[in-house]
C-alpha cells in the first residue's frame, strides 16, 4: 500500500515535470503525394546518388546487391564504383560501416534497414516524412517531425530545406485539445529552392520504392504477356465449352 502510494506520487511528479516533453503528438497535415515512377531511370539514378550521399551513413540497403543496382539503374562499372564508398565487389550488399551497438548509443535505437521501407510505410509517407522536420529544442537532435513524432533521426536535409519552426493551434473550445499543425515559419533559409528540394526528395523516395521491389517493372511487362495468353486461353475454353455443350437439352 505504502509502496503504491509512493509510486503514484512519484509518477505524478515525473509527469508534471516532464509535461512539455510528454505532450501528445500534434495532428499532422495530410500526406503529400509522392511523384513515383520506377520507369524513370534518371530519377532513380539521382535518387541512388542522393541516398548514398545523405542516408547511407546510417541506413543500409542490406538486401540489395550493388550489381543488381547497377544493372537495373543502367549504371556502368565506373558510375557504380563512384557510389560504392565501402565495398569493392559488385556482388556485395549495400551496407554501411556503422556498428549497431554504437548506433544505439548515438540515437537510442539503431537506424532501420531501408530495403523494404517503401512497402512498409508507403511512398507518400516517406516523401512527406523527409520534408516534415521542424525545430524543437526539447529533442536531442534539435528537431522533431510532424508525421513521425519524436523520431530519433536528425534532419539530414536541414541545410537544403532550411530550418523551420512549426506553428500549431490548439483545438477545442478553450484551447485544451490536441495541437493541430498550421504552417511553417522559416528561421534559417535553405540552400535549395523549394521546387528543386521537392524533386530531390521525390527522387530518393522513387529510389526507395524501386529498392523495395526491384522486379516491379519486369513483373508489369511480363504481366501483360501472361494476361494476353490467359484471355486467349479463356476465349478458346469458352468456345470449346459451347461446342461440347451443344447437345445438352434444356
Amino acid at each position: 500500500m505504502m509502496r503504491t502510494t509512493l509510486f503514484r506520487t512519484l509518477a505524478a511528479v515525473v509527469a508534471l515535470g516532464a509535461a512539455p516533453l510528454l505532450e501528445a503528438a500534434p495532428i499532422p497535415p495530410p500526406l503529400m503525394h509522392a511523384p513515383v515512377n520506377v520507369a524513370d531511370t534518371a530519377s532513380l539514378q539521382r535518387g541512388a546518388r542522393d541516398f548514398m550521399n545523405y542516408c547511407m551513413g546510417c541506413h543500409e540497403l542490406k538486401y540489395e546487391r550493388w550489381s543488381r543496382l547497377g544493372r537495373d539503374l543502367k549504371l556502368g562499372p565506373r558510375a557504380l564504383r563512384r557510389l560504392m564508398f565501402l565495398q569493392t565487389k559488385p556482388y556485395q550488399m549495400i551496407t554501411n560501416a556503422m556498428p549497431k551497438a554504437e548506433a544505439i548509443k548515438f540515437f537510442g535505437e539503431a537506424p532501420p534497414d531501408l530495403s523494404v521501407v517503401a512497402s512498409e510505410k508507403g511512398a507518400d509517407w516517406i516523401y512527406t516524412y523527409l520534408q516534415s522536420f521542424y525545430l524543437d529544442p526539447s529533442r536531442p537532435t534539435g528537431v522533431n517531425n510532424l508525421v513521425f513524432y519524436n523520431v530519433a533521426m536528425p534532419d539530414p536535409f536541414w541545410h537544403m530545406q532550411g530550418l523551420r519552426r512549426a506553428v500549431f493551434r490548439r483545438t477545442g473550445a478553450h484551447g485544451t485539445g490536441a495541437r493541430r499543425f498550421v504552417r511553417y515559419v522559416t528561421v534559417v533559409p535553405g540552400s535549395m529552392p523549394p521546387a528543386a528540394f521537392h524533386r530531390r526528395v521525390g527522387n530518393i523516395t522513387n529510389f526507395l520504392v524501386y529498392v523495395a521491389n526491384p522486379d516491379r517493372l519486369k513483373a508489369m511487362a511480363l504481366g501483360i504477356r501472361v494476361l494476353v495468353f490467359l484471355v486467349l486461353f479463356t476465349l478458346f475454353a469458352y468456345l470449346l465449352k459451347r461446342e461440347v455443350w451443344k447437345d445438352v437439352h434444356h
Binding site: 546487391r65 513483373a219 501472361v226 494476361l227 490467359l230 479463356t234 475454353a237 445438352v248
Partner: protein, 475 residues
C-alpha cells in the same frame, strides 16, 4: 490371356500400353467410373466452379511452396532475410512468392464461396452430411495451414499474430497455460515455435489436407453432386441406359466448363500477382515488411482478411474465456449444419422468403464481421462486434427453428429464449459508463430476432416454402 480385375464391371483391358497398364492397374476403369461416366447434374451454375478452383489453388500452393522451401531458412535470424533473398536473388523467386501469397488469399475466397454454395443449395443435407463434415475438416486444416505459414516470414505481424493466437489456448481452464508452452515449445514465440510451425506447414498439414481432399472427393462421388434445384438426379434414371436423365458425364461436359472457369480465375489471379501483389495491404500486411521485434508491439495487431470475421468474434466480449469459446463455437457450429438445418427442401430456391433473407443476411453478417475485425480495437467496434457476432449465431437458431415446423408458439418460445440470452449478455458485460453504447449495439441482435422470429408470427406467408419441381430445370 488370364484376365483378372478388381470388380465385375472391369473395363476391357485392350491392347498396347493401356492394355498392359489396365491388366495391372484399373486405369480405364477409374477414369470411367470417376470422370467420363460420373454423372453430374446438368444444371450447375456459377457457384459450382469453386470446387475445382479450390483444387487448382491447392496444387498451386503445393508447387510454389516446394520451390519456396528450397530457399527459405526457418531460423529467427535468417527467415526475414531469406524471404528477401527469394524476392531478389532466386530466379523467378518474386513470382513464386507472390503466387504463394496471392494463392493463400484466393484459396479462402474460393473456399468461402464454395461453402456458401453448400449453404444456399443445402448440399450438406442427407445423404451428404459426411461430405460436408469432410469439407469442414479441410477448412479447419486450411486455417491451421494459413496461420502457421504466416509466421514463417518472421515479420512483425507474423510474430505478434502467432503470439496472440497461441496465447488463446491459455483461456482453456486448468491446462491452458501448459498447453500454450507445449504448442510454442517455449515460453514465448521463438526459434522452437518457428521450427515446429515450419515442419507442420510444409509436411504435416499439407499431407493431411491432401488426404482429406481425397476423402472429400470420394464421399462426393459416393453420394453424387447436389445441384441448384436440390433435386436428386438419381431418382430419374433412363430405363434403357440406367443413367440419370438429368445427368451428364463429368467429362467432357464439366471438364471443359471448368477449364473456362480456370481461365477467368487465372486472369484475376494474374492481375493480382503482377500488378497488386499486396492487395492494398489485404494480402500482405505492410507491418510484415518490418522484421519481428519482440520488444515492440505494433499499434494494431490483426490477422489477414480471411480470419478477421473470427477475430471480430474473439474480440467482441471483454472476457478472454468468453471470447475464445465464441470463436471456437463459431467454427464448430458449422460442423453441425446438417442437423441444425434439416429442412426437407434443400435448395434456397424453394425455401421461404424468410429463410432466403436469413441466408443472404448471414453472408452479409460474415463480411461485416470481417470489416469489424479489421477495424482498430476501439470500444465502439468491440461492442458493435458483439452485436453482429450474436447475429452470426442467431442465424443458426433461426435455421433450426425454420427447419422444425415453425408454429407461432415455437417461434415465440425461441424468441423468448433468444431475448433471455441477449439480456444475460447485456447484464454480464454491463458497464454503466458506456450504457448508451451497450443498448444501441444490443439492438442489432434484438432487431434481427424480432424480424426473423416475431414478424413471421403475423405474416405466416413469409415462412411458406415453394413447391419443389420433380426434375432439375435449366435456367
Amino acid at each position: 490371356m488370364n484376365e483378372r480385375s478388381l470388380s465385375s464391371e472391369a473395363a476391357p483391358t485392350g491392347g498396347g500400353l493401356l492394355g498392359w497398364i489396365n491388366a495391372r492397374f484399373p486405369l480405364t476403369q477409374l477414369w470411367r467410373s470417376q470422370v467420363s461416366e460420373y454423372y453430374a447434374p446438368k444444371n450447375f451454375n456459377f457457384w459450382y466452379f469453386f470446387g475445382s478452383l479450390a483444387l487448382l489453388v491447392l496444387v498451386n500452393q503445393i508447387v510454389t511452396g516446394i520451390f519456396l522451401a528450397m530457399s527459405y531458412q526457418p531460423n529467427v535470424h535468417e527467415a526475414f532475410a531469406s524471404v528477401q533473398y527469394i524476392m531478389r536473388d532466386v530466379h523467378w523467386g518474386w513470382l513464386i512468392r507472390y503466387m504463394h501469397t496471392t494463392g493463400a488469399s484466393l484459396f479462402f475466397v474460393v473456399v468461402y464461396l464454395h461453402m456458401f454454395r453448400g449453404l444456399m443449395y443445402g448440399s450438406y443435407k442427407k445423404p451428404r452430411e459426411l461430405l460436408w463434415i469432410l469439407g469442414m475438416l479441410v477448412y479447419v486444416c486450411l486455417m491451421a495451414e494459413a496461420f502457421m505459414g504466416y509466421l514463417l516470414p518472421w515479420g512483425q505481424m507474423s510474430y505478434w499474430g502467432a503470439e496472440v493466437i497461441t496465447s488463446l489456448f491459455g483461456a482453456i481452464p486448468w491446462v491452458g497455460s501448459s498447453l500454450v508452452i507445449w504448442i510454442r515449445g517455449d515460453f514465448g514465440v521463438t526459434q522452437a515455435t518457428l521450427d515446429r510451425f515450419f515442419a507442420l506447414h510444409v509436411i504435416a498439414i499439407p499431407l493431411l489436407l491432401l488426404i482429406l481432399v481425397l476423402m472429400h472427393l470420394i464421399a462426393l462421388h459416393q453420394v453424387g453432386s447436389n445441384n441448384p434445384d436440390g433435386v436428386e438426379i438419381h431418382d430419374h434414371l433412363d430405363p434403357k441406359t440406367g443413367k440419370p436423365v438429368d445427368g451428364i458425364p463429368f467429362h467432357p461436359y464439366y471438364t471443359v466448363k471448368d477449364l473456362f472457369g480456370v481461365g477467368v480465375f487465372l486472369i484475376i489471379a494474374a492481375i493480382i500477382v503482377f500488378y497488386a501483389p499486396s492487395g492494398g495491404g489485404l494480402f500482405i500486411d505492410p507491418s510484415n515488411y518490418q522484421p519481428a521485434n519482440f520488444m515492440q508491439t505494433p499499434p494494431d495487431i490483426h490477422p489477414l482478411w480471411f480470419f478477421t470475421p473470427y477475430y471480430a468474434i474473439l474480440r467482441s466480449f471483454p472476457n478472454k474465456q468468453f471470447g475464445v469459446a465464441s470463436l471456437a463455437l463459431s467454427v464448430l457450429i458449422l460442423f453441425g449444419l446438417p442437423w441444425i438445418d434439416c429442412h426437407p427442401v434443400r435448395s434456397i430456391r424453394y425455401r421461404s422468403w424468410a429463410y432466403k433473407a436469413a441466408v443472404v443476411l448471414f453472408a452479409f453478417t460474415f463480411i461485416t464481421l470481417g470489416f469489424i475485425g479489421e477495424a482498430p480495437a476501439t470500444l465502439f467496434w468491440q461492442r458493435m462486434g458483439s452485436g453482429v457476432a450474436l447475429v452470426y449465431f442467431l442465424f443458426f437458431v433461426v435455421a433450426w427453428t425454420y427447419a422444425r415446423r415453425p408454429t407461432p408458439r415455437r417461434l415465440l418460445l425461441t424468441l423468448a429464449a433468444v431475448l433471455a440470452v441477449v439480456g444475460f449478455l447485456i447484464w454480464r458485460f454491463y458497464l454503466p459508463s458506456i450504457a448508451g453504447l451497450i443498448w444501441r449495439t444490443s439492438l442489432v441482435p434484438i432487431v434481427y430476432a424480432l424480424l426473423f422470429l416475431l414478424v413471421p408470427v403475423f405474416v405466416p406467408g413469409l415462412l411458406r416454402d415453394r413447391p419443389v419441381p420433380d426434375r432439375v430445370r435449366m435456367r
